[in-house]
Symmetry: C3
Subunit: 272 residues, 3 copies
């Protein structure tokens, strides 16, 4: 059973390492969030690059500390580039983080994400319950890119999917669930304002990738990224008059959040 106090200290130290090492996060991601996730990458202390050309992704990922695959506005050509980059990341031992945006909504999305999971060794998958439910075959209803029905037992779904793909699985929601097939953590940081702006799931995935670039235990990296993002959201909510002022404050708070505040403010729960 993970010791949440020790993990809180560990993720605080990880945030300090991100800012020290400034790892490059190579994103192959969707058009909607590219600007936001590049900014989140900078604000947490890492460096972003967005590059999707089949001709350069294998060379680009070799410079990176982690690879984000987010097929939110996918076409088959982009999926090919994702798989090529993912395989190269695997050869190099770099963590690959997958955000299966809208899996379950269309056949193309479900099958493309399943193919990525088959052909690339993914370290961490982060999705909402609809997306993870659809990918794991546990059900889950997706309306576009939103989950509209909660899973009965998200922990069991996460654990089963983690075992099947030998990956850490994060299901984000009111309580985020992070599971690696054996251990499991709940992350209670976050705020309902996050649902009022687009791309917060994608931003959470970027946060996880930043932590994965400096922290070798994927369970802790996933919990760290989510706790850090959720804590910044809690601070931002105090200054919000609506979704736009919330987003503004979220980015500032993320940038100003210290490793000490993160270690003290992470709200982790041991689930297994």
């Amino acid at each position: 059973m993970p010791d949440t106090e020790a993990i809180s200290r560990q993720i605080g130290r990880a945030l300090a390492r991100i800012r020290e090492q400034k790892p490059l996060l190579h994103h192959i991601t969707n058009f909607v969030v590219m600007n936001d996730t590049a900014n989140v990458t900078l604000h947490v202390g890492a460096l972003p690059v967005m590059a999707h050309a089949r001709q350069e992704v294998e060379e680009m990922v070799a410079l990176a500390g982690a690879l984000v695959l987010n097929p939110g506005t996918l076409t088959p050509e982009w999926v090919e580039a994702m798989i090529a980059a993912g395989r190269r990341a695997n050869e190099l031992g770099l963590p690959v983080v997958l955000d299966p945006v809208g899996a379950g909504a269309t056949t193309l999305r479900t099958e493309s994400n399943q193919r990525i999971l088959r052909e690339v060794r993914v370290a961490i998958v982060r999705g909402n319950s609809g997306e993870i439910g659809a990918l794991s075959g546990a059900g889950g209803v997706v309306k576009g890119v939103e989950s509209v029905e909660d899973l009965d037992d998200p922990l069991a779904v996460a654990q089963a999917m983690a075992k099947e793909h030998q990956a850490t699985v994060a299901i984000t929601g009111a309580r985020d669930i992070v599971a690696d097939g054996e251990r499991a953590l709940g992350v209670d940081n976050g705020h309902v304002w996050l649902k009022t702006i687009t791309g917060t799931g994608c931003m959470a995935t970027t946060m996880i990738a930043a932590f994965a670039a400096v922290e070798s235990d994927p369970l802790i990296a996933a919990a760290g990224g989510l706790a850090c993002f959720g804590l910044a959201a809690e601070q931002a909510a105090e200054q919000a008059h609506g979704p736009a002022t919330f987003k503004l404050a979220l980015f500032d708070c993320l940038y100003n959040l210290t490793p000490e505040q993160l270690a003290a403010g992470a709200r982790l729960v041991t689930l297994a």
Copy 2:
């Protein structure tokens, strides 16, 4: 002749329905505004999805309450996807809203929009006077994506185009004109700050689509979307110190605007 007081109450109720039903707005839109129009969709109370792959658009649109076609950064491949999605929306009886960004500026833009209007039954077209002028053959000068010359008689142009395409036509400007070939309304909500940021035309189109998803009369849906967006702009202008603080306040005001405020604040004029 439309009764503007009754319509104001009707569009207030439509805003309440958007927030209750949370319709999915499927956008095939341009890269510049994807993030902004996704946020506007959320703030008015609907759900956004951006999906353009030929392989999934017909499946995605079947989940939607309305389809937005915005060829602002078009290529021929994207136009094919727009037409496929539009035809499927027609089969399903879903409203299609077209934003002919930059029609008149290049042959590709003019012809692609004309082709969409021929091959898809479009419920509502929204453009500036240059774009609508170019598409209707009434003249109209476009510099990139901006209209640089007013039409002599925008109402006559809108009515003629509405009759030709059996669509509702909205020409936005200082006074927005909405016409369906018989009836016509002016919408006097709005603010000059809207011209200082990019994508406000595209955002207005998204607003119209949100209303069209819950209101079956396209004339009222178009007037509702424009009145709602314009009223939020008026409120936002009071807090603006420049275009960025205006945009920030615009998004917050849109989120906080109530159906009652909309019914009371819509400034509609009967034109025919």
Copy 3:
């Protein structure tokens, strides 16, 4: 040797001309910054259009006052469109401004930018020291799209590259260097906050293009765009609580900056 006081007055007058003439800036640029650079274009007083389809770029650029080529999320198809638009701009005598994002990071990026420089007469190239170092063969280390090592003698590198390509070369950093092979200026406006948000290099390039559209001396256009952007950043820094509030204030300040403030606030240094 350039007279910096005369040039300051000249760039103040150029800003006034931008707002009077509202030149169209045709961008073929990357997905990450499209929204931001469109807004920066509007805020400085020009008009943006983003258009990349091979079928329309030659027609679109003919409407423009300057062309921005920014292969930050390039594919080979986009590079073809850039070259076609660049050649047409050359025929029309329009200034072409190149932002070689990430040159040096991958072979595709380095070679594509070199090809553009060979096949298009570029008026002004703006990059960080890593990018310009990589393109000029002077060394320079790029991590994704960030320069991570300073050039020993950036002025010499800029002058050599300017001579080789008969272009004005701008290397942005703590002190921006602008050189045309004979004359050289330093621009000391700017603020460290600019490094905390994505796309500020791309925005600086857009600013240069706005000035190049109304000022025929590329050295002065480049210095003008950088001084204007840097001065707005200095003003914005006073209101910043983090990167997001900095960006918010940057856009407002850019919009509110007067030609007189620019002429008085430009901090130029004669280097050659």
